[in-house]
């Protein structure tokens, strides 16, 4: 499939058909920032102490997302009954392609570079 210039003027038939071609390419809203991360690796913080790192392939205004090559991290806190010390455990798993429902998403960011 050939790829023409995306955001600029479309082929003539589109104007003939009366279809509006989007022209703005500026970053105005927070969702535009996510648009800049398409096909990039991102970090997603979700509810219930879950985190995802993957390549963003698609998203919508609800923050439903399709991520590829995902690593999910689930963090749990176990409290020792006698000493009451908190033991943080995390479980990871890898999923090749994942749809994430937007109502679980809390934060979207570029991947964290630690150290």
């Amino acid at each position: 499939m050939e790829r023409s210039g995306r955001e600029e003027s479309g082929p003539a038939y589109l104007h003939v058909a009366g279809c509006q071609q989007p022209t703005t390419n500026t970053v105005e809203e927070p969702l535009d920032l996510i648009r800049l991360s398409l096909d990039e690796r991102i970090y997603v913080k979700m509810r219930n102490d879950r985190e995802l790192r993957g390549r963003l392939h698609a998203y919508d205004q609800h923050l439903n997302m399709i991520l590829g090559d995902v690593e999910e991290t689930v963090t749990t806190v176990e409290i020792d009954e006698e000493t009451y010390e908190e033991l943080y455990k995390s479980t990871k798993r890898n999923i090749p392609m994942l749809f994430v429902r937007g109502d679980g998403v809390v934060l979207v960011a570029p991947p964290l570079r630690v150290g």
Binding site: E2, D32, R35, D39, A58, D60, L98, F99, R101, G104
Partner: protein
């Protein structure tokens, strides 16, 4: 209609929703655009609807997926249908992960309310990532207007 096939494919590939392009691609050969044209004229009319993921799931009907729910139940099955709320119907289901939920043994088909889905694990080779990214950009632009 008299169009150059290659340029039509390029132009209308930007208009088609994800699933429509996939359906047309499988009906005719991957590169042939000849049968696209009358169908594209129809889709052109109903363009501006925010339905990226609905279209995406429609393109995955018949594929095996694993749906993980918010109550941590994972169900593997064949995607039978989906609707605008992303409610999912699965057929031939089985519970993945260790059989912690034996009461599902006799259930073959199920309807899952979209709001209780946490993840849907998809077959990576069934997903056209380039098409998805383009469709997401389009959807984002439309949503702004």
């Amino acid at each position: 209609f008299v169009f150059h096939f290659a340029s039509v494919t390029r132009a209308f590939s930007e208009l088609l929703t994800y699933s429509e392009f996939h359906v047309f691609g499988s009906v005719c050969s991957q590169s042939a655009a000849s049968t696209l044209i009358p169908l594209l004229a129809l889709t052109l009319a109903c363009r501006c609807v925010f339905q990226l993921f609905y279209s995406f799931f429609k393109s995955l009907v018949g594929k095996d997926v694993v749906v993980e729910l918010k109550n941590d139940l994972s169900i593997c099955g064949t995607l039978h249908s989906v609707d605008q709320y992303l409610n999912i119907k699965l057929t031939d289901i089985s519970v993945t992960d260790p059989e912690k939920y034996p009461h599902m043994l006799s259930v073959k088909n199920c309807f899952i309310r979209g709001s209780v889905v946490r993840y849907v694990q998809l077959p990576a080779d069934e997903v056209d990532t380039q098409l998805l990214q383009d469709a997401a950009r389009k959807e984002a632009m439309q949503q702004k207007q």
